[in-house]
Amino acid sequence: MTKATANLLYSKEHEWVEQLEGNRVRIGISDYAQKALGDIVFVENPAIDDEVIVNESMGTIESVKAVSELYSPVSGTVVAVNEELEGAPETINENPFKAGWLVEVEVSNPEELESLLNEEEYEAFTNEGEE
């Protein structure tokens, strides 16, 4: 089991959010999500300078079998994209919390972070889904 190493926040769409300096955050998908998806073979991230909106699609992620939307956990402007994933999307399966990060966003409305779940709440949320 890959454990999150930082103090992360989570969305109910299974993205994690790591707060960096200022209003900048890094976003990825959770270990639970990568397991549920299975072998990830394609990622379509937004581009730098794209605006993303909380709970709206910012890209897609595809496993061998299925296409899933990536929902942005925050609103803001994309300031960095993990280009490594283009050639090696399996990195998300291997290391969802570190090397498998998706994008960094300059958050326009920091209050949105308050509605995200903490580690414990997220774990409870995913357990609920399994019953």
């Binding site: 299975g38 072998d39 073979v41 394609f42 379509e44 897609t60 595809e62 496993s63 061998v64 079998k65 296409v67 283009e86």
Partner: protein, 369 residues
């Protein structure tokens, strides 16, 4: 009753968990999409071997003096050419040439045949078969009594040979042996057929014995690289080998000629058959559309239902199947498109989430062992 409890289960359902299966709803059946990982399972079948539970498939027994004539008027291929212990791939068509199902016909004895049909089509097929019953024969749907495992891959024969005295090397491609004993398990039909593009066997047996067979094969095969495999890998394997899947490349709207399995349509066979007139006309006039292999050269994966456009943006067809090919590491698919754009090398575009992504018509099969 909730939909979850209404899902049909194969006799192996109870032991899937023990092997780490991720179970999904597959056309009304609770079936494993994967055990470890689709990519690992795919690789195992291409390089070593994999074991699949395909007990959801349907089986119909046809017996009697007129069994051969009856089947031959239902199917497009010519079963009079079959020897005992030989199997044949064929289509069953509607009068307009659309496909009822694609099936395997096993000749068990002179007046006895086993028809293997797709799980999602069992009811429809049996109804269709009953509607066309003719002469001195009887038809029995034995789908609920029969289980099926497939052991596929370059090591399949060596692994299976460890647990049977029957000489498997004597079973040729599309041939089979009946009443084979495998370890303690009796009365297995062992057929050198499959749906992966690899050598291997399909094993038909009474459902109460299938769990023992599954466990036995893994017991003797795991050290040789045998892995339990799910339907996810089965789909990527069959797609690379360009084997059609009913509901995608074949349907009531798509004839076997259009699907690229014209070799099963014997319009010159002696007996009349359902769909003959329409299929002969299609052959004579030439097809207007057909299934081709595509490779996406831009960034994206083609999926069932995506639109196919010509280079200048005109809609010319639809993707029937697509995936990121695990063996070729390329984005591939099959598409039903206008014959005007079907030549190998023709540039196309696939509409993926409102973007037009470049693709090209390629030769199939994508993968050949």
């Amino acid at each position: 009753m909730s939909t979850e409890t209404a899902l049909k289960q194969t006799p192996l359902f109870e032991i899937y968990g023990k092997y780490g299966a991720k179970v999904i709803d597959f056309g009304g059946w609770a079936l494993p999409v994967q055990f470890s990982s689709i990519l690992e399972e795919h690789e195992a079948v291409r390089t070593e071997s994999g074991l699949f539970d395909v007990s959801h498939m349907g089986e119909v027994l046809v017996e009697g003096k007129d069994a051969c004539a009856y089947i031959n008027q239902l199917v497009t291929n010519d079963i009079t050419k079959l020897a005992i212990n030989q199997a044949q791939y064929t289509a069953m068509c509607y009068p307009d040439g659309g496909t009822v199902d694609d099936i395997l016909v096993y000749k068990l004895a002179d007046e006895k045949y086993l028809l293997v049909i797709n799980a999602a089509n069992i009811e429809k097929d049996v109804e269709w078969m009953k509607k066309h019953v003719k002469g001195d024969m009887k038809l029995e749907n034995i789908s609920d009594d029969i289980a099926q495992l497939a052991i596929q891959g370059p090591k399949a024969e060596a692994i299976l040979q460890k647990v049977t005295d029957t000489d498997l090397s004597a079973i040729g491609v599309f041939k089979f042996a009946q009443q084979v004993n495998i370890s303690e398990i009796t009365d297995v039909l062992v057929s050198r057929t499959g749906y992966t593009g690899e050598d291997g066997f399909e094993l038909y047996l009474q459902k109460d014995q299938v769990a023992a067979l599954w466990e036995k094969l893994l017991e003797v095969g795991t050290s040789e690289g045998l892995k339990p495999c799910g339907l996810g890998a089965r789909d990527t394997l069959r797609l690379e080998a360009r084997l059609p899947l009913y509901g995608q490349e074949l349907s009531s709207e798509i004839s076997p000629l259009e699907a690229g399995v014209g070799f099963v349509v014997k319009t010159n066979k002696e007996s009349d058959f359902i769909g003959k007139e329409a299929l002969s006309a299609q052959k004579e006039a030439g097809l207007t559309r057909k299934i081709v292999g595509i490779e996406v050269t831009g960034r994206g994966i083609p999926r069932h239902g995506y639109k196919v456009l010509s280079e200048d943006g005109k809609e010319i067809g639809v993707v029937t199947s697509g995936t990121q090919s695990p063996s070729l590491k390329k984005s591939i698919g099959l598409a039903l498109i206008s014959v005007d754009h079907a030549d190998v090398g023709t540039l196309l575009k696939i509409e993926i989430r409102n973007k037009q992504i470049e693709a090209v018509v390629v030769k199939t099969p994508f993968y050949k062992k």
